[in-house]
Symmetry: C2
Subunit: 427 residues, 2 copies
């Protein structure tokens, strides 16, 4: 099909009428599909089921160090699970605290702690007139929600295929002492799927923050979540790079097994410098006597080591690839050459990020909803839920089947075309 940009008003009107007929047919199907969140699909949950047999009533419940996982103790996690997550996060075991089931919870607690008690003895953020966070966009809505909830001013930083605009990051971080943090998903980013380049990571490590209590919130949520065996993105170790650059305490790394074992019943961790850990310990040991060590033992024994984790991730990848492929194939087939949208083919992670014509995203999402297709709310990938271009749409292909994803994407493409035509006709 030829580019919408090259069509006459008449051509657009004719096409519109045809698409509207098609829309009515689709509408009549009464579909109900949810592509709103990065929820693992049923087949993915199934591959982790054997984990539930690993610990049973006849299991030895003690850790390698001989601690009883059924009783109080080990506030920072059992040794074997710390080792497992350290290897996954590519850091050393002493730098890891294994927590509960949610890395989002650790991030939230980290922000709250900084608000009420400060960072390593600096003034609590709640006592300051202004606290700002940088938010590479498009990004993860739940990150932005945390900073919004605590009245932290969010500043959008554009992303390209190498990561955030580092000139802008450096200008803000090095120049403004009210800038206390930045939200990052460095690998297979949510939602664009891009991985930060080596240069970007190193520029992060070499920041010279105006604020002593500036911290990088490095949410490495998709660290081993590759889609392909032959292309696996690697990023430099941010903790080591920060150390080398004389900024040993500047980063908190977060990760979890939510999309490895079970969302909601996995284990999560924070990795950071020993100095930061010492400060965190003071609060965490007041907050909780210890996290769920039986579940930590379950994970450590099921996965055994990083090879076990990677082998398990291969199974996930096999289940995810056809879903991603279905989306990419249909987008390609339906929209290539029309000049009404662009997308990136991700090499890992959970999302495909779609850029529509400016001012069309909200209308596309609304139109999809009329067809029974639920997408992440347009704007969600921006601070305050406001996409200034109204153009970014996050597609989460994990939950439906590949067949459903294909069908859903065809409907999505239909809505993109319809809304784009309306936009062009009204321009």
């Amino acid at each position: 099909m030829k580019s919408f940009m090259d069509m006459s008003q008449d051509e657009l009107l004719t096409l519109k009428a045809a698409l509207e007929e098609q829309f009515k047919t689709e509408e009549a199907k009464g579909l109900s599909l949810n592509m709103a969140r990065g929820k693992p699909g049923a087949t993915q949950l199934a591959i982790s089921m054997p984990m539930l047999d690993v610990i049973n009533s006849s299991s030895d419940m003690t850790t390698l160090l001989g601690n009883d996982t059924r009783n109080y103790g080990d506030w920072d996690g059992i040794g074997e699970c710390r080792q497992l997550l350290a290897d996954m996060m590519e850091v050393k075991k002493p730098n890891v605290i294994v927590c509960g089931n949610s890395s989002l919870n650790i991030m939230y607690d980290t922000v709250v702690r900084s608000m009420v008690s400060g960072v390593n003895g600096e003034t609590p953020w709640c006592k300051l007139d202004k606290v700002k966070f940088l938010c590479p966009v498009p990004g993860y809505d739940r990150h932005f929600k945390i900073t919004e909830t605590f009245g932290i001013e969010m500043i959008s930083v554009p992303m390209d295929e190498n990561g955030p605009d580092m000139d802008m990051v450096e200008e803000y971080v090095n120049g403004d002492s009210a800038v206390k943090g930045i939200w990052c998903v460095p690998k297979y980013s949510n939602p664009t799927g891009i991985t930060y380049s080596d240069e970007v990571v190193k520029r992060f490590a070499n920041l010279k923050p105006a604020a002593k209590d500036f911290r990088i919130f490095w949410d490495n949520a998709y660290c081993i979540h590759h889609l392909y065996e032959e292309i696996q993105d690697k990023i430099p170790n941010i903790l080591e790079e920060c150390e080398k650059a004389g900024n040993p305490d500047m980063v908190y790394i977060f990760a979890s097994t939510s999309k490895i074992s079970f969302p909601g019943s996995g284990v999560s961790a924070i990795a950071t410098s020993l100095t930061n850990m010492e400060y965190i310990k003071k609060f965490m040991t007041t907050q909780i006597i210890g996290h769920d060590k039986i579940n930590q033992l379950r994970h450590a024994r099921f996965f055994k080591n990083i090879d076990g984790l990677n082998a398990h991730m291969k199974k996930h990848a096999e289940l995810m690839r056809p879903k991603f492929q279905a989306v990419l194939d249909i987008l390609e087939e339906e929209l290539t050459g029309l000049n009404i949208g662009s997308w990136i083919k991700p090499r890992g992670g959970y999302f495909i990020s779609f850029e529509s014509l400016p001012g069309c995203a909200k209308a596309i999402v609304a139109k999809c909803k009329e067809l029974g297709l639920v997408l992440t709310g347009a704007g969600a990938t921006y601070p305050y839920g406001k996409d200034p271009n109204d153009s970014n749409i996050r597609i989460a292909p994990s939950f439906p089947t590949p067949e459903e994803m294909g069908e859903a994407t065809r409907m999505f493409a239909l809505c993109v075309k319809l809304v784009s035509i309306e936009k062009l006709l009204n321009a």
Copy 2:
């Protein structure tokens, strides 16, 4: 033996010499026993092991409402687990949020949320010059540690066998708008074991707080933790009483299964008014997508209902009673009539609270340590770890065996005698 108070200096010196010989003998044994914390013993952990078979790889993982416990969702807990804990906490299911593995964590989060974001729209506590909490004493050290960590001023309120001194509570709460909370363990209190009387509970519900954002932190940790079948303490329902008194939002109730299933791998809950829940929801849904629902399912299916919980608690009681009895028997045998200490026989909970002569608790705990007997640090049961009388010692009989408890208590009594004599000789 006659009262130490009636002994002459010579008699005391003679006895001292004999006790010191005994001490040397005991010291040589090189014992190592920990009675510091309310840790369930090995036999108690064993009775919950069958719970680990309830969920396995062939289990149906959906809730009664058909939600998949392995995936995201149900931020307030799965229905059947909410019902189970509602029945345990004697409240209605809609008033319950089931959280993670730790009620202490919910309490900490509740205080932090109030600090940084206020209570139901009131001024955040961190913006106020002064925030005060009432602390019935002796009380639970981990409660006091939370308020201490956030610089909240703690005011001790004496307890008697009916609960806190309510005249004092009323005077502070109704008269001082800086008083924002009170820590309560209303049943089988930590550490005294006493249960609040009906009148005390009702006076709590009928407080007329000077501060709109005053809240009762009602940690019903031992709600079904009876030691005897024939005497089971009951307390009026504080949530209902508060409603009746026109204070529907004044109380947060906390509980967990830490001392029912596994410490660290149980489930915890908060119960409160729907208005409070609505406010909490805003923060909790930012903090976490959902708690560990597989573990909630495990608990709901294992215990089935409140009868299942109570039947399980009977087994715990059978294991706990001989340990408590061993302590009480030896205290009785060794110390009765000496006028150097007093204690209460608890009807439930996890502790026996010992009152030594004033100024002796620290020295007794130190002396016990020389014999390899670790007790909770003297003073821990008071705000800031400072017992003004230096007289309260918390004994936790759950972890050792009954035989060990007997032996340990005999050593404890020896130390009490020795330290008391030294005190009397130096008076």
